[in-house]
Amino acid sequence: MSKLFAVALGVLTAIGGFLDIGDLVTNAVVGSRFGMALAWVIPVGVLGICLFANMAGRVAAVSGRATFEIIRERLGPRMAAANLGASFFINLMTVTAELGGVALALRLATDAGPLMWVPVAAFAVWLVIWRVGFTVMENATGLLGLSLIVFVISVFLLQPDWTQLANQAMAPAIPESESGATYWYYAIALFGAAMTPYEVFFFSSGAVEEHWTVEDLGTSRLNVLVGFPLGGLLSLAIAACAATVLLPAQIEVTSLSEIALPVLAAGGKLALAFLIIGVVAATFGAALETTLSSGYTLAQFFGWAWGKFRRPMAAARFHVVMLVVLVACASALCTGVDPIAVTEYSVVFSAIALPLTYLPILIVANDPGYMGERVNGAVLNAAAMVYLVVILLAAAAAIPLMIVTGAGQ
């Protein structure tokens, strides 16, 4: 019974924890501009993150090594340092975006300016990292994040033209108001939003934090393979809401209120309340994960003591890095940068940086020195190679498309 409970809890947290500000914003933007014509990217991204997270989790459980330790050991100091620079920078953007997301959601609830909420959110993130245990932290934010199911309910309440939505999704056509370049630019953005590198740093470091062993692999695989696709359904629902309400009215998504508009139209204030709880939980959870990831990546690269399972006194550099990152990102937000714009850039940069972390994990997952008998099987490797090509293509096309489209304008 307790085992069943553990599995159910794991799956539910994986669903609730799947979405972050990147998924919320990108899906709404894409839905409002392209309808469901980019819906096919979501299953591609979800399958990719299942494959990648599963591989990183298995490497961490079998070898006890988290992602950036492996990157250092396999790539050597020069390549690994370049990799760290890129990954850490993108992670900073994501921390900023998530903190901004928390502030925007709290602003929807209270009318107080978002700048007032930024320091509060940053302090709360720090406090949870300092005092709350890893498992409690994960489960609480994941379960509250389940409130985002309100997007699925809203789609049904809105009673859209289902055949039209299905046609848009099954026979994708680029709307007349958009160019081919913007279409592919947003395809890459959606892909990057689903396959954010921090999720993998966090997942593999979390496996070490929770002292996973080979016996835990079955549970973790189930969590990922059931939880992430269901989380992907939430992404589709966000896009469908936007496609139903925002696209016909030609409303542009510039803040969280446009993302909330279809939900408010469908379910009134009660639905809006659930939405706000869900967005706060999802972005707060992701702010925790990205802040921890900044500590994880740096500490693992330099070989410092890291982890919430240690006393802060025994992992001083790790905790100081996270403190500095939170202060820096909160300060950046206080200069008045637009969190939505930061989010849109961060998902595209995520796609650009993806090969840097994907390739070393794929190599080590095939190294018997680390993995013993638990190296990748033939089927997994075939799928992983297909994704390697997809990831490389997306990364290579992202910057030219960003320049050509003026970042999707």
Binding site: P77, R78, R131, A305, R317
Partner: protein, 133 residues
């Protein structure tokens, strides 16, 4: 890539054959209580003896030497902490040493930043002594 002479045959012995670059360099150093104490940045080798045995590894070197490892050159000896090879307990996915770090921070020179931040920053924040649970 320069063309190199092929390496001589590996010595036939009963022991395990380790490639310094592949199996030792950049690996994590852990103390007896699983405290990370750095990474293997370099190896100190004995001067080449003429008896055909080849050089022996005297010590593992670790320190804040990322810049010289990336851009080349040689850091002053004071930047490197020497861990004599006799302290090495095992070489696997991690390298275990008996460095005696006293719960994580003891006396190793390369951990001075960790000690300094612990005593001057973390020590002033309430709740620092217990792991989160």
């Amino acid at each position: 890539m320069r063309r190199r002479k092929p390496l001589p045959e590996a010595p036939a012995g009963s022991g395990r054959l380790l490639d310094a670059r592949l199996h030792i360099l950049d690996r994590q150093l852990l103390d007896f209580d699983d405290t990370p104490v750095g990474i293997v940045d370099d190896l100190l080798l004995e001067d080449l003896a003429d008896d055909g045995r080849g050089p022996r590894v005297l010590a593992i070197l670790t320190g804040q030497v990322l810049a010289t490892r990336i851009f080349g050159g040689k850091p002053p000896v004071s930047r490197l902490q020497k861990l004599p090879w006799r302290l090495v307990r095992s070489v696997g996915i991690v390298v275990r040493v008996d460095a005696d770090t006293d719960g994580g921070t003891g006396s190793l020179d390369n951990l001075w930043v960790e000690r300094w931040l612990r005593d001057h920053v973390i020590a002033h924040i309430p709740g620092r002594r217990h792991a989160a649970h």
